[in-house]
């Protein structure tokens, strides 16, 4: 009887300590390489927390609790926890924009030197993927625009192949008007949107 009285508090202390060791998930918001900061909202069934400043962190420890109040993540915690993931972060891709003579697949004068630059960068980076996308503005016939954008993208791919780049590395797609360089309302002519983008990864 005497021994049970001693064991009960000890047992509840152990359970209390074990409860504190439940898995905890951490979510930290940081700025991108350009220094911009976005937002993230973390939600459990019991509540939400909004991350909106550099280093904002919340932790989740179970569905029955709201995410913890936002604190600023310790730099050391970040460095130690995320070192390996950060060490393999891919380099930002290099993006090139090509413009064309109106209504044709011929490169505009200002873009004629760009192909050589793209080829040099592909070789220098030992690039493994090259994404070529055709883009239109939001004016005119969508299907005519898309057809021309696709033709132009295919033409750029051919130019790169002729310069010795492996076609297997390249994908060609048309983004239509859905990914403008210069956002405009619908049905607005904007020559800067009528382009081919080459993204080298």
């Amino acid at each position: 009887m005497h021994s049970i009285l001693i064991k009960l508090p000890a047992l509840s202390l152990v359970l209390f300590l074990l409860a504190g060791c439940a898995p905890k998930h951490s979510i930290i918001l940081v700025s991108d390489p350009d220094g911009h900061i976005g937002k993230a909202e973390v939600a459990t069934p019991a509540g939400t927390q909004l991350l909106e400043k550099q280093g904002d962190m919340t932790q989740v420890s179970g569905p029955s609790k709201a995410p913890s109040p936002v604190t600023i993540a310790d730099q050391n915690f970040i460095a130690v926890t995320f070192a390996d993931a950060m060490a393999v972060e891919p380099l930002p891709p290099e993006k090139f924009i090509l413009f064309f003579e109106t209504g044709k697949t011929a490169l505009a004068a200002q873009s004629q030197g760009t192909i050589a630059t793209i080829v040099a960068v592909i070789k220098q980076r030992k690039a493994i993927k090259i994404a070529i996308s055709g883009h239109t503005d939001s004016a005119g016939s969508a299907q005519l625009n898309d057809k021309l954008a696709q033709e132009r993208a295919e033409m750029v791919k051919d130019l790169l192949i002729r310069n010795g780049i492996n076609p297997d590395l390249m994908t060609v797609s048309s983004h239509g008007k859905g990914n403008p360089l210069v956002p405009t309302p619908d049905c607005v002519a904007e020559p800067r949107n009528r382009r081919v983008e080459v993204i080298v990864r």
Partner: protein
């Protein structure tokens, strides 16, 4: 006076089939250290630089292991060792205005850097961890999921 038709007709062109061939590929492995595997249905692939990824793939890093992944919209996802996540849903189709990125992280360390999907469709990115969901509106997020 010309009448501009703005996207009122959507026609399927044969030439778009070149895009269809690569339609399953939603990203690729750009960097790798140690070992990592890609599980796709019954298939288990050893990950290497350039391994293409499909929607639904489960990516698991070894110990040691770390991978850097680039999606077709330039979202980058980097994993540390002993980590696992799956690409539950992914759509990047600006022509049709279809954007979506839902990743489910089951364990480990994860660095997410937003790409065009987050820019063009700020509500389209969601990360799911055990017990919580994260609605991401840009830019860079560090996530640790303990077991």
């Amino acid at each position: 006076m010309r009448v501009w038709i703005c996207g009122m007709f959507f026609m399927f062109f044969a030439f778009s089939s070149t895009a269809a061939l690569a339609a399953d590929t939603i990203g690729h492995i750009q960097t790798i250290k140690g070992t990592a595997t890609v599980i796709r249905g019954n298939l288990t692939l050893q990950a290497t630089t350039g391994t293409a990824l499909n929607s639904g793939d489960l990516i698991r890093t070894g110990k040691p292991g770390a991978v850097g992944i680039v999606m077709t919209d330039d979202t980058t996802i980097s994993l540390g060792p002993n980590s696992e996540f799956s690409l539950q849903e992914y759509a990047f189709n600006p022509k049709e205005g279809k954007f979506s990125l839902v990743a489910r992280i089951t364990k480990g360390t994860f660095v997410y850097l937003s790409g065009l999907i987050a820019k063009l469709a700020p509500n389209a990115v969601q990360l799911i961890i055990p017990d919580a969901t994260i609605a991401v509106r840009g830019t860079k997020l560090l996530v640790e999921v303990q077991q």
